[in-house]
Each structure stands twice: as C-alpha cells, then as structure tokens.
C-alpha cells in the first residue's frame, strides 16, 4: 500500500514532524544545531532585537573554524575583522548560554569534523548548521542539511524549521572501487554524472556494495559533497561500520545496545520507491580531478582537458569556454601535464585522520617538489593530535610540507591561507569556484592521494606515476 513503505530519509523526517497542516510546510524538530562564527552573528542580533532567547542551548554547539588562522593561534587573531567575528561568537555564546569549543580548545575544529568525532552525530537525527556542507553528517544516517542565517535564528529561537519534505533520490553504486580509487574520486564522478543541479530538491541516499564497503570517514567525504550536486542532503543507511565508529565516543548513548536496536530500523524499506534513481559502476572508476570552475566539471585524471565543442548543450559549451579561460587551460592538454603551485590537504571533505594517513603514506621517503608549497591542515585539534601521535606530522614536515593548526583554511580562504591571482592548486577541498581559494586562484579538486602525488611530481599526478620512495628517509 502506498505510504506504508518508506525510504530512510522519509523515516527520519516523519519522526521529527512537530506539526503538519494542509498547504503549510511541516514544522520539523531539530536534534542538533551546530554554529560557527560566520553565519551566526546576524542571527543572534535578530534574537536580541526581538527579545527572544535560545530555546535549547543544550542541543546547540558552537565552534570556531571558518576564518581562524592556522599559524600563531596562541596570539590574538591579526586580522581585526576576523577577530571581531570570533569575539562576537564568544560573546553571543556566553550571553545565550550556548556551549562553545573555541580556538585553543581540545575539541576545536571544523564543525563537520567536530560533531562526528564527539559522537554527537547519530543515526536518525536531524542536524542543521549554517553551512552547506552539513550534509557530511548524513554519513551516519542522519538527515543533515545546510541552512541560511535567518534559519539559524529560527532554530535558535524555536529548535524547529518550517520545511517542505525533500524529494528522494537513490544513487546506487554497484561493484567495488578498484585499488587506489577513493571516496573522493567516486563523489567527483557522481557529480560529473548528475551535474551541479541534478540533485536540486532531493535528499540523496547512497547505496550499494561500494558504499557499504566504505569506512565512516570515507562515507563522510561522499555525503559532504552532496551539496555540490545541488542536493539538500546526502545519507547512508547506518550499519555495523556506523555502530562501531560511534561505540565509545564521548557523546554516544549510555545504553548503546538499545540505541543500536533502534538504529537498525533506520533502513530504506525493500519495497520503498525513490523519486529518482541513478546507477554508477564503481569498478570502472579511476582517480578523478576537476578541470573547470564548478565541481561537476570533472574527468578521470588520465584524460585530457576537454574542448567546449565536446559538450552537446550550448550552455555547457559556454560554461566550458568560460572555465577554460579562467583556469588558463588549453583543450587537449593531458591533465597530468598541468603544473601546480600549491597543494592543500584538509577541509571538511578530506581533513580527517584517514585522509592524512593516506597522504603521509605517499609522502613518506619522498620530497615535495621545489616548485610546490604544500599545506596540511587537520580538520580538528583531535585529528592534529592523533596525527602527531602517529608521527605523520614528521612525515609531512620532512617531505617539506607545512604542518598547520585546525580550521577551514584554504578551502574558502577567509583566513590568511589563500592562493595569489593565477596561482594553481590541487586541493582536497570541495569547491573549485572562481576565486574560492583566493581572488584569481585556480583550483583542481582531488583526493588526498592525488594531492600528495601531485605535490611530489609538481604536476597533477597519481601515486602510481611516482618513482619508488627513497629508503634512506624513515621516521
């Protein structure tokens, strides 16, 4: 019967409807509201102007990430405007009683790294944040999506949001990823297939054997970039991998087994239908890279820069022409011949410990090319400390990379870490928009493995392209 079978996202949605009425949006309860310095100050001002308080500070957590420096974090922030914004967050949190993990705190870091590592992100929850990459948390089977500042104010005041239900899309990933092909390559391939607008209005559920085989951190990389396909959210059904990741985390449920019993019900019913289904074959994939100025303009690294005429749609042709011009690329150039100046390893997409390990494995015994500056920016203080405990920081610094403190950093260049005009980067972040990493900067999105290989080669490269590492250099 229609209405009996539900997808995962529909189950989570239905469990959070406070009120529904014909012709009106549903009023949806929010289990976790994450905030940061950039999209919250005007929301707190709105509360003050209307005499409203924060309804549930105990379901709200603030961290400082977007504009914080990654050097000299023990000193006052040099940029006065950034400093004022961070100070405004601290003042607002103090005034409204919201818990905060400020710069210098052991739990500070990128908001989408901090939530999961504390165990705050759990299956079946609704999670919002004034940041589009909130979709990251969907890796746990949570319904998690980015919101604007007016909605931040709305959630602060009411712990709810008025919303129309999202449409549902299944992305079925058949087969298994070949050796050396990562979650980042997979999501770039998915976005290239469905386009930057293909997911608009949808929550995507990633399914299939290739998804089930991924670690939690890899699943976060996938869900993180759902927004780059235009989707409101991305989700993956919780399973043993999810439960094992959460077990023992600081905020994991005290009665863990009871929680797991509930979490096991959070699967898409066998006979549920999606509004749209897309299938992709994992086995046919190889490392991916973007050549243009939106995340849908990606190709296998072994391909060449496309020509505008390669596209059928006139709008895509024009977009390609504009992108090639901005990127300073010639059609037909093998992608692996493109030299880069900067390599950025970090962000909420690829700034977790597994990402750092993967890059360190390639850099061990090798050197970053003289022509390349490489920044390694862990996603959180905890990731940084873990990496140091494993000696990864030494691998990076011996290779000639810079070992920084946690934050969003060069992903969006709000802090001092930016590209100069025409400078070219290979970046493990999520957006290759014009000027994203600094005015005039040119970004190629890649996996941590490709980033590390590129840093060594001095041009876009995959690990297999590198000569064997020197055996003399060992930690």
């Amino acid at each position: 019967m229609v209405g009996m079978s539900k997808t995962l996202s529909e189950k989570v949605w239905d469990a959070h409807v406070v009120r529904s009425a014909e012709g009106e949006p549903d009023l949806l309860y929010i289990d976790l509201h994450l905030i940061h310095e950039v999209t919250s100050p005007q929301a707190f001002d709105g509360l003050r102007a209307t005499g409203r308080g924060v309804r549930r500070p105990d379901l709200t957590l603030a961290t400082e990430d977007h504009n914080v420096p990654t050097l000299d974090i023990d000193k006052p922030i040099a940029d006065p405007i950034s400093r004022a914004q961070v100070e405004a967050l601290r003042t607002n949190c103090a005034e409204f009683g919201v818990p905060i993990r400020p710069l210098g705190d052991a739990d500070q870091g990128i908001v989408h790294v901090v939530g999961p590592q504390l165990g705050l992100t759990q299956p079946g929850m609704t999670v919002v944040c004034g940041d589009s990459h909130t979709s990251t948390h969907g890796a746990f089977g949570a319904l998690a999506f980015g919101i604007g500042t007016s909605e931040v104010e709305h959630v602060l005041a009411t712990q709810t949001l008025p919303l129309k239900p999202f449409k549902t899309m299944a992305v079925n990933v058949e087969g298994h990823l070949p050796e050396g092909v990562t979650a980042k390559d997979l999501i770039l391939a998915i976005i290239a297939q469905i386009g930057t607008g293909g997911g608009q209005g949808y929550v995507i559920e990633y399914r299939g054997p290739a998804i089930e085989a991924l670690s939690m951190e890899q699943r976060m990389t996938i869900c993180n970039m759902s927004i780059e396909a235009g989707a409101r959210a991305g989700m993956i059904g919780p399973d043993e991998t999810t439960f094992e990741y959460l077990r023992g985390k600081q905020r994991a449920p005290a009665d863990f087994d009871a929680a797991v019993d509930y979490w096991r019900t959070l699967v898409t019913d066998a006979d549920a239908t999606f509004d749209k289904e897309v299938t992709i074959d994992a086995a046919g994939l190889s490392p991916y890279v973007t050549w243009g100025t939106n995340p849908g303009q990606g190709l296998p690294l072994r391909a060449s820069v496309p020509a505008p005429e390669d596209f059928d749609d006139p709008a895509a042709q024009q977009a390609a022409r504009k992108a090639l011009d901005y990127m300073g690329l010639q059609a037909g150039t093998p992608l692996k011949e493109i030299p880069v100046d900067t390599v950025f390893l970090g962000s909420c997409t690829n700034g977790r410990i597994e990402d750092l390990r993967a890059a360190a494995d390639i850099l061990r015994g090798r050197k970053v090319a003289d022509s390349v500056t490489m920044l390694v920016v862990p996603g959180s203080v905890k990731v940084r400390l873990q990496a140091q405990a494993e000696g990864l920081d030494t691998v990076f610094t011996r290779a000639g990379a810079q070992w920084r403190n946690a934050g969003c950093s060069m992903c969006l260049a709000m802090n001092p870490d930016k590209l100069r005009p025409q400078e070219r980067s290979a970046s493990t972040s999520n957006r290759n928009f014009e000027g994203r990493q600094g005015p005039g900067g040119r970004t190629h999105l890649v996996s941590p493995q490709v980033a590390a290989a590129t840093a060594v080669a001095g041009h876009l490269a995959e690990p297999n392209d590198l000569p064997a590492p020197s055996e003399l250099v060992e930690v």
Binding site: T39, D79, S150, G197, G201, M414
Partner: protein, 195 residues
C-alpha cells in the same frame, strides 16, 4: 518585512549559468557581523571587469536580475541574498535556483521567479534590443510582463503568501510553541546533548 505585491523596474541580463554564491559575494566579505551594507560586495570580482553587465550605466538602477540556470549554487551564505537586496535587487529570474539560496531569498524578501529557460532567452533578447524596457513582476498573479512577453513564473505558494503578507517566519512558528513543547516531552532519552 515589507509586503511585496507587484514590482516594476529595470532588468539586468546576467548571461551566466551556475552563478554560485562565491561569485555573488566572495568569502572575504563574510567577516562582517552586520546585516546590511553588502552592496559593495555584490559580484565584486566580476565588477572589476568594465564590461560586466552591472557596470553599464543603463543598469545602474536595475532591480530585477535575469540569470542563467542553477543560480545561487554552493555555499549557504545568506549574505548572497543581502548583497543582492542591498544593491537594489527585488527579484531574480532564472530557470533553476539552488535550494538553499531560494530558501534564503524567501526569508529576506527577495523574490525568486522560476521560469522556463525559453522565457529567460526571450527576456535577454528583449533587453538586448531595449535595455530600458520596464519589466513587471506580479507576485499576486505569479506573472512576468515585459514588452509583448507575458509569462507565468513558479514560486512556492507558502513563500508567496508570506511575502504578500510581509510575515516573519519565527513569529508564525512561535504560535505553535505548545506543539513544540509536547514534541520535546516525547523525544527519546538516548538522544545526545551538547551541555
């Protein structure tokens, strides 16, 4: 919020697809903690090009933006809506809007009028012939009128009602405070807190 009924104004053609919010307002402008004063930030990189559409004197007072598909993709920054509004835009017309941008626009009183790309093409052509053509955006009738073009546009009915009435979303939700309290009483105790 001011009520929005019908708007008449000059329309600027922005012949780009995938206008992401990093282009509408680069991140360097997001460090401010104010709610207004973002007009200088709007398309700040593109405005350095003297040929950029908004640099043509004929569009100085433009209040309607006619853009290509997938407008407002990327970052959730509501500053993109504030920058458009502060600059003087009341309406953006496109064949497809990114979800978060469209939601933010509705909150900020900026109308997103979704039409077929063929309508965008005809409007671009009309404005190419006469940039001073008055464009009428009638929210009541969900209709755009310019020259001999009459086209219906799509906007969420609830958002349209709120804009027509000039209502504040939080105030509406506050009327249901009892329902929220009841819901909270029944929330499972295993759910985490941040305290």
């Amino acid at each position: 919020m001011d009520k929005f009924t019908t708007h008449r104004g000059i329309a600027a053609p922005l012949r780009h697809s995938n206008v992401d919010t990093d282009q509408i307002i680069p991140a360097e402008y997001l460090k401010r903690i104010t709610r207004t004063g973002y007009e200088d930030a709007l398309f700040s990189a593109w405005r350095q090009d003297p040929d950029f559409v908004l640099n043509h004197p004929v569009y100085t007072n433009a209040s309607i933006l006619i853009a290509g598909p997938d407008f407002g993709t990327g970052s959730s920054r509501e500053h993109a809506v504030w920058a458009l509004s502060d600059y003087g835009f009341k309406v953006v017309v496109s064949s497809r809007f990114a979800d978060i941008f469209r939601g933010n626009a509705g909150k900020g009183g900026l109308v997103t009028a979704e039409v077929e790309q063929s309508v965008v093409d005809r409007l671009w052509e009309l404005l190419g012939q006469d940039p001073q053509t008055e464009v009428v955006v009638d929210l009541e009738a969900k209709q755009i009128r310019a020259g001999d073009i009459v086209a219906d546009f799509v906007i969420d009915d609830y958002v349209r009602w709120r804009l027509l009435e000039g209502l504040d979303d939080i105030g509406i939700t506050m009327q249901h405070a009892d329902a929220i309290t009841r819901f909270e009483r029944d929330r499972p105790s295993i759910l985490p807190t941040t305290a």
